[in-house]
């Protein structure tokens, strides 16, 4: 099986503060990896540095995506190569229609990859197919990006965009937070439908609940900028029972 993502000894600094402190992770096609850990352990930092956020400085180690060191690539270049980050806090952008923005996103990628622009007809077909996947309200498609959306609607919109972009590597940063159980099922169902032998998914969460619906092949515990434990899905149940306090204890010992 070929490797989609290989993170080696990753150290990352944000505004002079060392957040990631030697992180290793390998993900192959067709796999789902869950990353769990207490608040502040560095989960969102990891997703941001993977997606190429400026000011997130890699001070040691490297990120290989499909065997290429992507440390110097811009966020859009990473997106064009098939990476997607569903934000923990999707940003509201007033005055920019959701649907126009997505069409531009697709066409910017087509342009970068030397492909034809998508026709209006194909685009609309794609929109209706993909939005039904997460039950995104029709009204929301034409509204400004995330403006006035409820927490749940924002998360659905993230998965809708993911569906539109058909990424090779998806990173879902706490997509479950703010979702009630029905929405959680719908969103999980969307993610599962998009899963294939060719792509890979990282699910970041700190509740086990989501993993009942998106079943991971591997579970990792991120603590203080490092992966301190890896296992199969039973590790998540373990964590649910024991909480995270034992981590602090282990670290102290």
């Amino acid at each position: 099986m070929d490797t989609v993502l290989k993170i080696e000894n990753l150290h990352c600094q944000v505004q002079g503060q060392q957040i990631l402190k030697g992180l290793n992770l390998e993900i192959k096609r067709g796999e789902v990896h869950a990353i769990m850990g207490p608040n502040g352990s560095g989960k969102s930092t990891l997703s941001s540095v993977l997606a190429g956020k400026e000011d997130y400085e890699i001070t040691a180690g490297q990120i290989l995506y499909q065997n290429e060191d992507i440390g110097e690539l811009s966020p859009e270049e990473r997106s064009w190569k098939g990476m997607f980050l569903a934000f923990q806090y999707p940003v509201e952008i007033p005055g920019v229609s959701n649907i126009n923005f997505l069409r531009t996103a697709l066409n910017e990628r087509n342009k970068a990859l030397g492909r034809d622009q998508i026709s209006a007809k194909d685009f609309l077909r794609l929109v209706s197919e993909k939005s039904s996947l997460v039950g995104l309200d029709n009204k929301l498609k034409n509204r400004s990006v995330n403006e006035g959306f409820s927490g749940g609607e924002k998360k659905r919109n993230e998965i809708f965009q993911m569906a539109m972009l058909e990424p090779t590597l998806s990173i879902l940063d706490e997509t479950d937070s703010g979702l009630d159980i029905d929405a959680l099922k719908i969103v999980s169902n969307g993610v599962n439908t998009l899963k294939s032998e060719d792509n890979a998914t990282i699910v970041i969460t700190h509740y086990q609940r989501l993993l009942d619906y998106i079943v991971p092949d591997f579970v990792h515990v991120l603590y203080d900028g490092k992966i301190v434990k890896s296992g199969d899905k039973s590790l998540a149940l373990d964590l649910e029972e024991r909480g995270y306090d034992w981590l602090k204890l282990e670290k102290a010992l």
Partner: protein, 396 residues
């Protein structure tokens, strides 16, 4: 103390006028209303007043498609050939004649305007006339280092309505020209005026002053778009003298490198039961300087006024500058007024969000720009014009 420089022989004004011109002085930095303006670039130029008509085709100018009727004023003079306005239009009278300025002289540029203007554009609606077609005034300067003075009188009679689009621009190779414009507007009872103004004099200077008088039940909206110009100064003074009026001032200003755009507005509520709304947005590019100074006065007997004023600015670069000063002076006690001003940069997180979905840095910036100005952009009801200005501030 200083004045502008003129090549006197090139102007055809009399000695008496020259005496007034020579006696007047440029505003000093110590005058609050002019404190941010630097006259250095203007003072270096030796302005002339020797104009011919140079334009042979409107297509040579950077204009959007113009619907309705068009009046072309080239270097301050009515260009009959390029204009398109019938002499007898139902409900509307247009003339280009000698006329005394109605604007009270209180600055150097007011004095110059009085002395140099020869003829004015006069537009008058007849009572009860609803003018469906918009009137476009294309005010173009076509001679480098030229000094152009223009004057417009707008008179809306009772219960009439009109939309006016004004374009201030320069022809392709014209640089360092100065246009000094005054506009007096009188809106009678129940009349309605929408004034859309598009300023992009590029490598030229512009000073612009509007004085508006509103009678009861009247409606006035101005939508102002100011982009490129070495120096652009706008003074808007609205006096609301009758009850139940609606006053709305919307603006976008976007100075680029080494450009200066200075907006001063005043809404004076002298009568009760009126509403006013002011919303200006500054998008300040690298090395550009913008000013917003907006004042609302509610006079003692003007009760039950609702006045809202807002100015938001985005500094595109660390070297962009804006001075924002919203002011409220309230002498009545039963009023609903608010004002606010914000200055910031585009949200990095929003930029990252858009780029993470595959938008290039430029495309993402365009979207954020659009998001920032859409509220004002939507005030320009003509879709062609809206497209036109959108392109302007994305490119500019």
């Amino acid at each position: 103390m200083s004045t502008l420089n003129f090549n006197k022989d090139s102007f055809s004004i009399d000695n008496l006028s020259w005496a007034s011109v020579d006696a007047a002085k440029l505003p000093k930095k110590s005058e609050e209303n002019w404190r941010y303006l630097k006259w250095g670039k203007l003072k270096k130029i030796n302005f002339h007043g020797d104009f011919k008509n140079y334009l042979s085709d409107l297509d040579d100018l950077d204009l959007p498609q113009l619907d309705g009727y068009t009046i072309v004023i080239e270097n301050g003079v009515f260009n009959d050939n390029l204009s398109h306005i019938p002499t007898h239009l139902d409900g509307l009278e247009f003339s280009f004649t000698k006329n005394n300025s109605l604007v009270k002289e209180d600055s150097y540029f007011d004095v110059l305007n009085t002395c140099f203007v020869n003829k004015s554009v006069n537009i008058r609606t007849v009572a009860n006339a609803i003018i469906k077609e918009p009137i476009n005034i294309v005010n173009v300067i076509t001679s480098s280092e030229g000094f152009v003075n223009t004057n417009t009188h707008l008179y809306l009679s009772t219960n009439s309505s009109l939309t006016l689009n004004e374009f201030y621009l320069a022809s392709d190779k014209t640089i360092n020209g100065l246009t000094n414009h005054q506009c007096s507007i009188s809106i009678e009872k129940e009349a309605k005026l929408v004034l859309n103004r598009y300023q992009y004099p590029n490598h030229n200077f512009q000073i612009c002053k509007d004085v508006i008088l509103q009678e009861e039940d009247s409606y006035y909206t101005s939508n102002n778009f100011s982009s490129s110009g070495i120096l652009v100064r706008n003074d808007v003074r609205v006096k609301v003298s009758g009850e139940n009026c609606h006053t709305e001032l919307n603006g976008i200003f976007t100075p680029s490198s080494n450009e200066f755009i200075d907006n001063h507005t005043l809404i004076d509520h002298a009568a009760p039961n009126c509403k006013s709304f002011e919303n200006y947005k500054g998008l300040i590019k690298s090395n550009g300087i913008g000013v917003f100074n907006g004042k609302v006065i509610v006079e003692k007997d003007a009760q039950r006024i609702e006045a809202f004023q807002q100015n938001n600015n985005i500094l595109i670069h660390d070297d962009s500058t804006v001075y924002s000063k919203p002011e409220l002076e309230i002498y009545a006690d039963d009023v609903k007024c608010s004002h606010g001003s914000t200055t910031g940069q585009f949200d990095d997180e929003a930029l990252f969000y858009l780029r993470s979905r595959g938008l290039s840095q430029d495309a993402a910036m365009e979207y954020l720009t659009l998001g920032f100005v859409h509220e004002i952009l939507d005030c320009f009801k003509n879709l062609n014009h809206r497209e036109f200005i959108l392109k302007k501030f994305l490119l500019n």
